[in-house]
Assembly symmetry: D2
Homo-oligomer: 187 residues x 4
Amino acid sequence: MTKILVLYHSNTQNTQRMAELIAEGARQLDQSDVRLRSISEADHTDLEWCDGIALGSPTNYGCVSWQMKQWWDQQPIENWGKRDGKIGCVFSSAGAWGGGQEWTCMSLMSILINYGFLVFGVTDYTGIKFSAHYGAISAGFPEEERAQEACRRLGLRLSEWTARLIYGREEAHPLNQTYHRFEDLGK
Amino acid sequence: MTKILVLYHSNTQNTQRMAELIAEGARQLDQSDVRLRSISEADHTDLEWCDGIALGSPTNYGCVSWQMKQWWDQQPIENWGKRDGKIGCVFSSAGAWGGGQEWTCMSLMSILINYGFLVFGVTDYTGIKFSAHYGAISAGFPEEERAQEACRRLGLRLSEWTARLIYGREEAHPLNQTYHRFEDLGK
Amino acid sequence: MTKILVLYHSNTQNTQRMAELIAEGARQLDQSDVRLRSISEADHTDLEWCDGIALGSPTNYGCVSWQMKQWWDQQPIENWGKRDGKIGCVFSSAGAWGGGQEWTCMSLMSILINYGFLVFGVTDYTGIKFSAHYGAISAGFPEEERAQEACRRLGLRLSEWTARLIYGREEAHPLNQTYHRFEDLGK
Amino acid sequence: MTKILVLYHSNTQNTQRMAELIAEGARQLDQSDVRLRSISEADHTDLEWCDGIALGSPTNYGCVSWQMKQWWDQQPIENWGKRDGKIGCVFSSAGAWGGGQEWTCMSLMSILINYGFLVFGVTDYTGIKFSAHYGAISAGFPEEERAQEACRRLGLRLSEWTARLIYGREEAHPLNQTYHRFEDLGK
């Protein structure tokens, strides 16, 4: 089983809803064991357990929330440098388009890269003018289908990369899939 | 007169249209002399001339276009460190929401900060769930009114900060204006 | 008087020492009223009071510490959007060169830009191969003179920009100073 | 054989020297086929060929050089979205510490993430207060041993991740190595 952790902090349920959609997407690949956890439900054993992670936070000041940062800053220091080589991706909701979601994704990636994860974005388009190139983003609650599908796709991609790269399942490689990866481009 | 340069590169007219809207906004403050220039029309004398700049590029790979970067990399080296203290802001269009516009805004800010500019974003909301907190962004052509207004607001704000900070015009300070700065928040 | 706030969080005294040097530099310009405060000593009245800020944090995971982020996330929401137009800069120490100091500077700038500050870096070189182009950085305690001078210069520059841009003191403009701004370049 | 591409642009030989050291490190793992190429020597067939890439550029304005950006912007558009799942890392030299190397690393990562690569940093310390957490960085020519070793380590790590993740060679996993990963921490 591919072990996927969707770890999030949410104040208003917006980021939480994204997390649920990402978990749903991660389960679209068979043999995926998906844990959906808020930071209050997760600890270092979840971090050790997972092969891949999707990490999400609200956008506050164009940066990860203090609660999510605290969760990482208080991880047992002795584990650092001993968890290298897991797969990671990120997501964030803000109050507005142009509100700093992509800057927050960068700060979330910074945490993952520092901890030894390999991070990725999604090349796919999941609807007209919609993508998750640097992580899944939302303005408020993810109501539109294209935004919801971006979350699911991020989760699916996480399962795919983890299955391919950690477990060597060549059939899980995104380039071997038959679903439509570029909805925006009219194919 | 407050001297404002709107400097852009555009492949598809999307970033160009943003530039036009920003120039329009910059002219909303009286005593603003606004130059709207593509990189092929501008040189180091424009950079010397201006008090404030709005710098815009398409998003390619979540980063400034090579053409815009080339324009800066080829600026006369002897001018560097002698233009400090101007005011700057940024804008970018990408093919999709989540396409890296805000990462591109960061690379554009990096150029301006390096050259000695002071950079800002816009705290205002210009419609439901729309802002330009780290610069104005668009997915494709800026068709929606809230996206167009974000461009205009960025330009207006540039004129306001330049008038206030460079020329000491206290009446130009955004906090002294009567227009509606937070459309999203129902006031 | 130009009102300067040096606001920091420090776990190991490294960032604190940087803050002290920055405060020292800020006082090099006459008519500067400088408050040096850790986050445990500062509140929203300091933020309202200041004309300019230097904001510093340790580098943890290439990002602002959770304590500093908490300080900002818990600012009274009703003040947001009403403090625009102050001047800001940033600083950070990490355990190593290449440890993510400049990424942390970016997250600190993100906070300031979001809150309505105009942010700057220092074009000057303060010794052989040393600068603070995107804020002052250190690996551990700032022991070298060039690293200490980078902190002082950042503080001085903050006083200069604040004096010039907020109070219109043309004589405070960095380009009107007689000190040596480019130690690295042999002039 | 693990196919590694070290792709760089260099104006002054500083970034080139880093590239050579990275290639040297990449060859430290057996069964590594390493191509060291400047952008003038490389084209899209090298990008297709490689399993892993180290991408390097000088720091100009805290961002990738226009020449390196041009190389990517002019890649055949039809290949985009069809090269997903390779492994990547980055490096950059600037004129000074604090000169924006880590911001440039971010722009280089942005290119790789956009193109579908999974990117990583190095958790290891390669000497007192020296690391490559977000890519290898240098101020000028990499003269110090700790800086040179950071380059080699980045290259070695690239070979290790590529061998492990693309080819399933568990023995290549960094956590299974016997060399000293944390020189800074008193061993």
